[in-house]
């Protein structure tokens, strides 16, 4: 029996594909499409509550907007502060 981990949790938008940002209309329209999708898919739709749910994208998902989405995983972790760093390590 798996203990459910639902509830408020923070998921960073880690975009694994490094994408070189072209400063043109195509990239911008993809960006705005992605934002519209994120607006719906991360925040709306059917939300199931209950013990059987292991995880669900919750209302206070925090993600970093398109500028940061284009950076690599490592940079992201540095900017945001990895959730797994203990207070001891932080103090260093």
């Amino acid at each position: 029996m798996i203990v459910p981990a639902h509830g408020r949790h923070i998921i960073s938008a880690v975009f694994q594909e490094k994408r070189y940002k072209m400063n043109n209309a195509v990239a911008k329209s993809k960006d705005v499409t992605l934002l519209e999708i994120l607006d719906r898919v991360l925040d709306k739709g059917v939300v199931i509550a209950g013990d059987m749910v292991i995880s669900v994208a919750d209302v206070d998902l925090i993600y970093l907007g398109l500028k940061v989405l284009l950076s690599s995983v490592e940079t992201m972790e540095k900017l945001r502060g990895s959730p797994f760093i203990s207070p001891m390590q932080e103090a260093k």
Binding site: A25, K28, V32, T33, E36, G65, L79, G81, E90, A91
Partner: protein, 113 residues
């Protein structure tokens, strides 16, 4: 797999900017070291104080609009509100908090401020 829904606009950049702002795209740390906890409490207290301060201001404005304050009262209210505002600025600076950070998200009810 590609999604099919189409997004049409002549002003991609402006919408990107506003939608990101609306989605409150600020990085927030979630570790629990003592400094952060302290700041968290300060944020909460100051947010509530801001709420009260803004309500007081609004109430004062309504009375000014209705003309129900004497000249002397206007003077006194002005002085009080001014001092309150300055004090809040001080406190914000002490705790290193910006205006945008002083808010509480009440889920389906939206933001407090």
């Amino acid at each position: 797999m590609i999604a099919n829904a189409v997004v049409e606009t002549d002003s991609d950049e402006e919408f990107i900017e506003e939608i990101e702002k609306a989605q409150n795209a600020l990085p927030k740390k979630i570790n629990a070291n003592p400094k952060t906890v302290e700041k968290g409490l300060a944020k909460l207290v100051l947010t509530l104080i801001e709420l009260i301060r803004k309500l007081l201001e609004k109430q004062a404005m309504r009375r000014v609009e209705a003309g129900s304050l004497s000249d002397e009262e206007i003077e006194r209210v002005g002085e009080t509100l001014m001092k309150l505002e300055n004090k809040m600025e001080e406190l914000k600076e002490i705790f290193g908090l910006k205006d945008e950070e002083l808010n509480l998200n009440l889920g389906p009810l939206g933001d407090l401020l």
